[in-house]
Subunit: 477 residues, 2 copies
Amino acid sequence: MPDLQSKLARAFRPRTVAVIGDKRAMGYLWLRSMSTFTGKLYSVQIDPDEIPGIEELGVPNFPSLAEIPDEIDYAVCSVPRTIAPRIIADCAAKGVGAVALFTSGFAETGEAEGAELQAEIGRIAREAGLPLIGPNCMGLYNPRLGVRQSAEQPTGEAGPVGLISQSGTHAINFGLNGAAQGIRVSTSISIGNAEVLDIPDYLDYLAADPETQVIAIYAEGVKDGRRFFESLRRASKAKPVVVWKGGVTEAGARAIASHTAALATPNAVWNAVVKQAGAITAESMDDLIDVLKALLFCKPGTGRGMGLMAMTGGQSVVITDAFVRAGLEVPLLTAASYEKLASFFNIIGGSYRNPLDMGGTIGFGGQPQHLERLLQILDEDEHVDAIAIELASGFMARRWQADPASLDSLLDLLQAHRERSAKPFVTVLHPGHLEDVASQARARVGERGLAAFASFERAAAALRRAIDYWRQQEGLD
Amino acid sequence: MPDLQSKLARAFRPRTVAVIGDKRAMGYLWLRSMSTFTGKLYSVQIDPDEIPGIEELGVPNFPSLAEIPDEIDYAVCSVPRTIAPRIIADCAAKGVGAVALFTSGFAETGEAEGAELQAEIGRIAREAGLPLIGPNCMGLYNPRLGVRQSAEQPTGEAGPVGLISQSGTHAINFGLNGAAQGIRVSTSISIGNAEVLDIPDYLDYLAADPETQVIAIYAEGVKDGRRFFESLRRASKAKPVVVWKGGVTEAGARAIASHTAALATPNAVWNAVVKQAGAITAESMDDLIDVLKALLFCKPGTGRGMGLMAMTGGQSVVITDAFVRAGLEVPLLTAASYEKLASFFNIIGGSYRNPLDMGGTIGFGGQPQHLERLLQILDEDEHVDAIAIELASGFMARRWQADPASLDSLLDLLQAHRERSAKPFVTVLHPGHLEDVASQARARVGERGLAAFASFERAAAALRRAIDYWRQQEGLD
């Protein structure tokens, strides 16, 4: 499509938005989602029964797109599928920047009627040079401008993550779950059946977008594998790209056909393509957010030797298994480190060979200020390339409940370490039975710019892929 | 040890408990843990500065074990390690049922002094026929009798799970995390360095214990592999045994040596032994609890064909990938099922080929009562051996927040299905961004006797191992 990228630049930072076909029976899904829009919002609805309800929301309504006395940068369309072709033609005639078609019931139904309708709206959009997002999608989320995919998504603060999602659910949830963990969105696009615009079009946009530092993708399939590969390779040269593929199993492929009518790609082929393009793989929503945390919150580092710190002997075994299983190493420390540690480390009920079982030294009857010494010793140890620490044991969570200031001073100490040290640093706050305390504490650790994970296994898996990426960037693998 | 099992039967259901050497500086760790004990509790402390504090807790104190005018069924001992041999000799002289030695600083330090002390207490106990638990352990947890490993653990209601844990942290956390998820303990033993009594001794006890329906083990190593195998095989014939092995990596083996001085077993050998014995493997605390949920809350079934139900298209892809990745199958349904489904299922924004993308049919503008029909169709479908359903989407969580009664009626419906159907049935309530609502709802689902998991992946992994176990019980694999 000619000038596509400049058209997307207009539509993805809109000054005007039109919602077409919203209605009471849907709870005014789209008008409520756009209620936070900072620009001018218009409604298009011809049904006289629906118009008073829309006007009550304070949104000016017009019986047709043509009658809106303004240019429309972005439109979202929620009309019955049989009417969709006419509305797409209206959008083309109006010169709308881009239109997202929420309407579903197209190729994903597996029925001829839906497939023909989808081909028809595609033809209309392509002939007119109209960027059509979807159909069967939730469109755009731009938190800075208050354009949303759901009335629950937060607005105001933009983040560094650009998202392309073939699932509307995953797009909405990424905005919500990510924000709850400090991973915020610059621009997110739910792309649905991708009839006209496909992943490479959005990827080219986000690769060039100065607000986007890292790109995340949930993909079910791509139409043109070669084009996807080239676009992914270009984007990966500009910034990290993390790709979560849905429908990796045979039955999963049946599910994606019913969901977005995407064609299956054998999983081995897909993974090879992603790796060769220099992108990073993820396996679930949690995993995607975890990898982004490691990329955004850790200092980059290319070594695989971990310095591990746990609160008890049992957890020191678990943290070690987790990092080694993820493909990282847990080396012995240098003689110099052991000499320093021997001078103050309590080995009755503890140990420091790496992992450090440090509860008795800093926690249970020990001295919290020793934590700073331990971090410094690991930071100076040349066998240690990256550091992981267990923060939330039941013991710690209870202390924070009883004395919230003790969490503040711990966070000060950890933040100072992160700023001083050049090594990747990850923290683990597992939920345990004090799920609320641990998850609140995890959020507060995240607010300090520290990577905080919900389990040893998740921290290890995320850090491993970040290190692989940093190694590749340095030409080490 | 002669009469060991009858000695353990006495000690693990004690009528009298003695706490030896507790003190203010430790926050009366053990006296507080035993404050819920339903029998008679005694303290032994010779330090005159400590005695008033102990008496303030209402516990009668004696300067020596010998002077307690009662038999002692179970003693927990927290004295400096150099004094431990004398106290163990006192326990032997008194004829104590069993003693748990909390004291650490023995073989796990890797130093000669600790190793020699451990050998000495072992010799004393063995010669006297005294069952010694530990050292370096948290001893016994019997919720029904109020004997605890930590003052946080719940008491009163006993459960069906017997636990043997080589880590005190994991023993305590299992009691706490499990209870929060409806997995309660009959008898739990933290076994520490296992100098005298080892896993097979405890396993024989729990295999014969009528209160214990299923056994869970966290093991770091065993001294006598042949004896462990025989004991595990015997126990597995009586009831399901789930084994989580810590220290499965080379560095993890170093960590277990520092933790409980256990010797490493190559992981492949370990897994082969566990499998051959007819036991079930687990890989983490969460995984252990998940497998127990499947075993305890699902009807047993031996088929691998899943009927999958999700709230949106995106999640229908994820649930399918998760179950297939775990080694289960997602077959097409029978023609009869498709005929029934076609009569009412909304395929605009949904699909029913299996997985069922049912949001539009039962949730968003659909009819909740259709859920019962969907469950019944899958229950009657001969291609479907087990059923998994996504319960918590953001949409559902919001509805439950707004209308708590809607959760009750959903739970009634699900419970009725579980009672009617002979097929294993698992539910998934992922945390999303409404972590609190989802985890409260998950607890309520668990209270109804339904297996509730925090992610598709965890549900699939747990159910897979339960099915493998049930198949093996039926001689199918």
